[in-house]
């Protein structure tokens, strides 16, 4: 059943959007670094629930920058050990987090292993999308 509010648990069949910097995607597919947390991802890697966030909104990042959007399925992420948790924001109820991919563990072997696997379970890539200045 599709989520109705951002606090609803994320179902296995839900699709999630992950914004990717343009340099991290090519014909070869997404780089594992597309799924590597940054120093800002203190509580988890940000994704957006397709049932609650539009593709255009998920693709919107810093002004003047270009992005792709990877589509992942929550159940596929769980199958490789990733914890998917709702993390609604005031301006984006569809925000969720992958809570075992964080700033503090981004340099570990476990994160390298998981992010590499994520390149394989990625269902689709949309874009490029440019964010207006």
């Amino acid at each position: 059943m599709p989520a109705k509010t951002g606090s609803d648990p994320v179902g296995d069949d839900e699709l999630l959007y992950r914004r990717i910097r343009k340099d991290l995607y090519s014909e070869a597919g997404p780089s594992p670094d597309a799924f590597r947390p940054t120093r800002h991802d203190e509580t988890g890697l940000s994704v957006y629930r397709a049932a609650l966030t539009s593709l255009t909104k998920a693709a919107s990042g810093s002004p003047g920058k270009t992005y792709y959007v990877a589509v992942l399925r929550a159940g596929d992420l769980r199958n490789i050990g990733i914890v998917v948790t709702p993390a609604p924001l005031q301006d984006d109820p569809g925000h969720a987090e992958l809570t075992n991919l964080t700033a503090s563990n981004r340099r570990t072997a476990e994160t390298a292993d998981i992010t590499a696997q994520m390149t394989r379970i990625c269902r689709e890539i949309h874009g490029p999308f440019s964010t207006l200045r």
Binding site: R21, D23, L24, S26, A28, S31, P32, D33, R36, P37, T38, R39, H40, D41, G61, S62, K65, R106, A109, A112, D113, A116, Q117, T119, R120
Partner: protein, 161 residues
Amino acid sequence: MGETATLSEESLRLAVDTCADEASAAFSYLTNYVAALAKTPISFVRSKNNPATEAWQNLIDHKLIEWSRDPSMLEDDGIDAPSGETIRDAINLANFWKKQGWPAPTRIVPDSDGGIVFELEDNDVFCSYRLSLDRTLEHCVFQDMRLVRRKMYDFPVNAGF
């Protein structure tokens, strides 16, 4: 026609053991693991006309040098652009590997901590070399996108190339 070297898994391991402290150890490692994982001897071509040379030069000219002109193009929310020094190190490393005749990477990407990653994919083997701000080089080998090897090196620029 270039010189073709056929390396057995055993000789590759020996080569890695004997040159572990040399500047080329990192990339020797890559070849070693590709061969070891494939469980068959591999061949590679060392030649001035090696297409890999052109691919390396394209990556150096159109990626690394382009970044060095304006590293800020790589900045983003939570993303540190590589410093000029890191990009110069990456260019030196790329030139070294190019001169050695090693296969060109599939892609070079900036990481979120001001580092630069060389990625090489060949069938079910994926290798990455992450050059970090602190000049360490992290080498990872994946088979079927599962991590099978991870090793850190001090950056070989300090070893004289």
